[in-house]
Symmetry: D2
Subunit: 449 residues, 4 copies
């Protein structure tokens, strides 16, 4: 096995390809995907700014020193440009991207008008669908129910045809589909051999998202997972990613309430304020909410959202502060809101002498608006990682995920600020590597991160 | 002038004194001070935990490396122990600390019962008072209205007598008095010479808090300022602190709403979410609220609270995100609440394509409960700094302040997480210095912090 | 059958008994019951005021005319006095009322101290218990598992012995026990004959609360039901109440969130503001919350809480405003709060031209504090009704209930203000009847309420 | 003087005029006025519903009996129809109604599109302006600064010309202008004689709103006041209204926070829950907010908003509950929100044994959306009153106002539900009068309302 750990960058190699077109292939052309695509086209036309995207807007220090100069990320590292992105995707409903965007209601028709033509041209290929994984939906635009291996081959054929027609050398796949039901690792997920046999046997434990992930990796496309279901997060596909040196990352975009949680919790811990309980309620009315109204799909999401506090608060280290807190997360389907979800948090803290205090946070957010720039960053950074020769799990992208994938045995980092530091650190390393023909000696030394 | 910058630690010197008693002298024996003192005694008796105090509870990495081992701060550096603290103070009302604590209503009589005797023994000396600086109060237990220099000498006499009677070698002074009216620097504040002449002339621009600060520095006591008024933050007293090598720090303890603000704002900026406006309303009903009901006292507080956002968000760097936000802070005297204040924030943010979202944070907090552990840390860390030979402004303590004092020309850091990193960094340096006879070479090199 | 409708008051009869002692018998001596009893004793000793009790504090117009004089309710009608109440009850745990009150944590030990002796003297009789109705509890102080009829007889024996020992002529029973699982009417509930046979057969559909209600009615005690389970709200027991002329009322005390809902909804409807959705979340950590964590118990509560909006908003009459709203109620067990529950409501309304607006209501309340004065009023008013000759369902008491019992075919009134008007109206009628030897001619005429 | 009290309706007279056109003349063609006008045109075209308007949507009982049939208000009484409204007005900026509506941002251009032509045709006449009454504005489209009497005559000339050109027999004037600075009654306001002399002398205490009100009454137009400034609420103009038999009503439309307050407060009082304090904060960013940023304008508003609680809670009657509450109202100009204002209330209540609880209400509302249907109702009901022969103060319209005008010596009613009952009651009386040739005997008897 030749998994490349992030700190084992292949040194002294200049990155190529930043001037070429980059394919962006999305299973699940719904609210998030169309908000992303509409936005990229509006930004290209100078009708909007890429708010929320670090790759487009943020500056970081060129060295990890307090007095080092700042530089925009997109100047520091050779990212694909927005002008070079070419979008395609799959969905289980046949509507074009304009129609879907209108139905999603995230952006008004007024906002969409200048890019209507571009969106109308994006028509999804039929999707891979199996209702037991997403019970609340009933797809009408689906690939024939042949064997799962045949479905994977059909997806790969779509990819190859798209890349040929559009004359693309590189592409990235990002799962923006619905949350599938909660699954645990079963034997068919344990090795690539077992998984490929399972595909041929149409094994019931192989979910559509896994079929897409397999297809991506087999065609050397990095794969990112925006939802909490397993998808690429199974030993078989981690093995495949390592073997082929293709970057993977996930799971579950950190957008609304969990974003706030990973901001607030580090703040409380930094000040050594104790926690009695944290109650989080979400109401949302989009297709995501409808899917999560199924208890089994909710279970995927709930687990994804629940793990973050322990990771940040370190109850073992601070038992007097965090040894006994109660954490409950609820997600409620509430149609009146559409995409405009709302997360209400009640936080019961205690301070000096154990005296109790309360914090309430009400976040009136828009799911797809928060997700779109995250998907953009993931696309560009997965592509960057690929060109930098980084394969396997990219845990320096944990900044973007509720439930970050990590290499085996490595604990996930949930603290937004530490995640951010890691992201910046890796960007600086990639930058150094790119700028120098010489081996990155610091990288070689600090094999611990 | 021989101001010691934090990075110019006098090297190769072991710290003495951690086993001796430490005097804690507090102008303003009100809710905060009595909550601190009651808590320290309860903790000594193992009846409570020092929740909220970093010096007592937090662990930090012994080196600034991700894999360095963690160690409690109180093991890393030689802090005074809680058992060694000896409290005294001044107030403009004659009640003993038990009576004051009961009236403040922060802690119930049930909680106070086990330390009642200790609190009753603490009776404040008469305070320095001048009503034009705190219009809503009318002190009854005040030093004679002689010249301001005579008042300073009376304070110094109190200090010396206290230290003699209690056989103390070291002490720290921390201002916990009311917020004085807003003042700007006037000529009498500009130099030590002018200031001392002003004391003799009872110059109207010299506030009581300045008289205390002068007295502290002249008797070699470090001085911390828990309120937003100038106190030690004038050129004359900075000069004096530098000259005598005495540490000073301020202003305005970061407790409720501003604490939340300096947690949330870095989170938003990290994710490149834009800001249209931030409206902060506070309701509080304690003596602090009553004093702030005077517009001139409020002005001090308002300025203290308003500067934090610009410092964190960097509008110059990110004009598209933060170039045009509206920030308004209100503090409302609302007697029904007593010490249990409430801060309500409405935050209007925008994301991808400029779409608007809102965050509301409601913090039902207790002012003195949040302040007490901060005052404890400041006392111990100012003493530590003094023993480490650090004089003048201690801006590595910015973590604890709404409006951190900095050396001339240095911008204040407001981001709670960066403040925390600086605090940890300095603690590690002091630790290295203490453990080694050798010059701290890294410290000598990194003269930029 | 001789059910007495409220408007068919037996005329020209003076009420007797207001000077005698009144027994108050409570199945379920938990937080609510002990808060009531402690409060009554504190009020008797002039150590507290009966805040929240209409019978003790409210004034109403003596006639339904805008210029009629106001009079306190307790002067208008001959209520039992607090000094005359004698408490007893049953519980499935053996603790005395003081111990239970301490454990409940609603009132501090400081508040309870002056009435400790009185509370300690109240020790519950063993309770009727069957775990399938309250799965989360496991009673240890229970009557022998003989036939259900034998259990009823044991309860009646408790009642008779209590009344003899205390020399009581009148008593009232009020269910303050836990919420039982949701049940629908089954054949055994349909008639008194079937029900009594079911008692002898220990029919599984007969819940403990029904056994208590039967026992109360058979001993001529009015029965009020503070929980949402059926209890007396079955045809068999309605029949028995009518037959014996004993007043009954229920179900589910209107305390926290539903109280707010029945205040806000009439306001919105009065102003013809439309409703898209109403989401209600509750967090609570007392025994009630623990019981409701069982989905079947929650079901009882959910149904009780859900019906109120339709009753107030009249969707049939105003389909454009209320024809399509989404209503969701969640109750979450959240131990950090104890009895201090919190109800968070999000209300999505629309106005002129369909423009959307939002109201959020956060109610930080104390369940037992809101419930106690309601239980006091119900005890006194059920006794009043009984002495006034009113038997069967007392729907003029709907003011106090989330899910008011009504005579067959009569819709429940949920609007708090209309409920209040009905309550006042009936009190005036009872007053007129009491004051006059003459038939109440208006009552005779207005047989329509 | 021949003031007609509401209960002294001129009996036995049928109302004429419901089929004719009705002029609607508005001083202040801003956000509220254009939202009203746009809405009326959209409703006429069946593109929207008149949500929030009682006259258009509500049904009431035809008699004040619980079993009386319900009937829509517009069937019960002969109101002018929306199709018959003809709009005109004055403003100190020259923009047409379409331009103003676009700038106000209350309704999107998409919503306005179908009625753009109608709105463009409405161009305001130059306004009467005097900057000392509205300091934050600087009008550019104003009547010449001749004497105030000359200004009144110019307004009357506008009215007469408009009515002639449009062939109108009836019109109503409704003040939708900005809040003027706070004024108290001065001698020039005390009598009509003094006032008219003051007009001729351009007395500085005569505000523009008074000039409009005078002009309306002199041309027999009913006058409603949507703002908190005095306008028609001075003895001189009350005298004029009585003398000419013209209806007047005010002050200050009950829209956002005060609406909620007059819903919640009756609920709390009904349940005998005590009040420690009520803190109300408002943030708003429209022109209204800008004007209220001037402390003197705010003073008008603050007084208007502050009186409601005492009126509802009756502290004299319930000193234990309401004898000592603290009420504070803040209005903050906060530009990021535009017309979408937000009212945040914190309510500190107490219950059984004085235990404390809190209610927080956050109302994210749209000022003009809430105001528009209220202005529509006032226009139609003032016209109805006029045709019914009712002159002088119409306190049965208190339902619509924060600070209702009442006849001398009569206390204002603030409880929304009692206000609603009074409104319905008067509508039923007008209906009876209209339907019968016979004297309304009940009206004659119940001279106490």
């Amino acid at each position: 096995m030749n998994m490349l750990r992030p700190f084992e960058l292949p040194l002294g190699r200049r990155m190529a390809g930043s001037g070429d077109k980059l394919g962006v292939l999305i299973p699940g052309m719904g609210a998030v995907a169309t908000t992303l695509i509409a936005g990229v086209h509006l930004i290209r036309k100078k009708l909007a700014k890429p708010i929320g995207s670090l790759t487009q807007m943020q500056e970081i220090r060129v060295r990890d020193e307090a007095d080092a100069p700042m530089m925009p990320i997109h100047e520091l590292v050779p990212l694909a440009r927005l002008d070079d992105l070419v979008f395609g995707g799959w969905d289980i409903f046949p509507d074009d991207a304009y129609q879907t965007a209108c139905d999603a209601g995230v952006l008004s028709r007024e906002v969409l008008a200048p890019v209507r033509r571009e969106l109308e041209q994006i028509r999804p290929w039929p999707g891979v669908f199996e209702q037991r994984f997403v019970r609340r939906l009933n797809g009408t635009h689906v690939k024939p129910a042949a064997s799962k291996m045949a479905q994977a081959e059909a997806v790969m054929a779509d990819i190859r045809q798209f890349m040929e027609e559009r004359q693309l050398k590189r592409a990235v796949m990002l799962w923006c589909g619905s949350t599938e039901i909660h699954q645990t690792i079963s034997p068919v997920h344990e090795s690539l051999v077992a998984f490929e046999q399972g595909l041929r046997d149409s094994h019931p434990d192989i979910a559509p998202s896994m079929i897409y992930a397999y297809s991506a990796l087999m065609t050397d496309l990095p794969f990112g997972n925006g939802a909490p279901n397993l998808a690429v997060d199974i030993p078989a596909l981690r093995e495949l990613a390592d073997k082929r040196g293709v970057p993977i990352a996930g799971k579950d975009l950190k957008t609304g309430q969990t974003l706030i949680k990973t901001i607030m919790a580090p703040g409380l811990q930094t000040r050594m304020l104790g926690l009695h309980g944290w109650f989080s309620s979400n109401i949302l009315g989009n297709r995501d909410g409808e899917v999560l109204d199924d208890p089994d799909s909710f279970r995927s999401k709930e687990l994804s959202k629940s793990s973050v506090l322990d990771g940040i608060l370190e109850p073992q280290r601070y038992p007097d502060l965090y040894g006994d807190y109660f954490h409950k997360v609820r997600i409620e389907y509430y149609p009146p809101r559409g995409d405009a979800k709302e997360g209400w948090d009640n936080i019961d803290i205690f301070g000096w002498l154990g005296e109790r205090m309360q914090i309430k946070v009400d976040f009136l957010c828009k799911d797809s608006i928060l997700a779109a720039p995250v998907t953009l960053d993931l696309i560009l950074l997965l592509d960057l990682a690929h060109r930098a020769g980084l394969g396997g799990v990219q845990d320096w992208l944990s900044f973007y995920f509720k439930s970050p994938m990590t290499p085996p045995g490595v604990a996930a980092e949930h603290d937004l600020f530490r995640q951010h530091a890691r992201l910046q650190d890796m960007l600086r390393r990639i930058s150094r590597m790119n700028r120098s023909e010489q081996p990155d000696s610091e990288v070689a030394q600090t094999a611990g991160v």
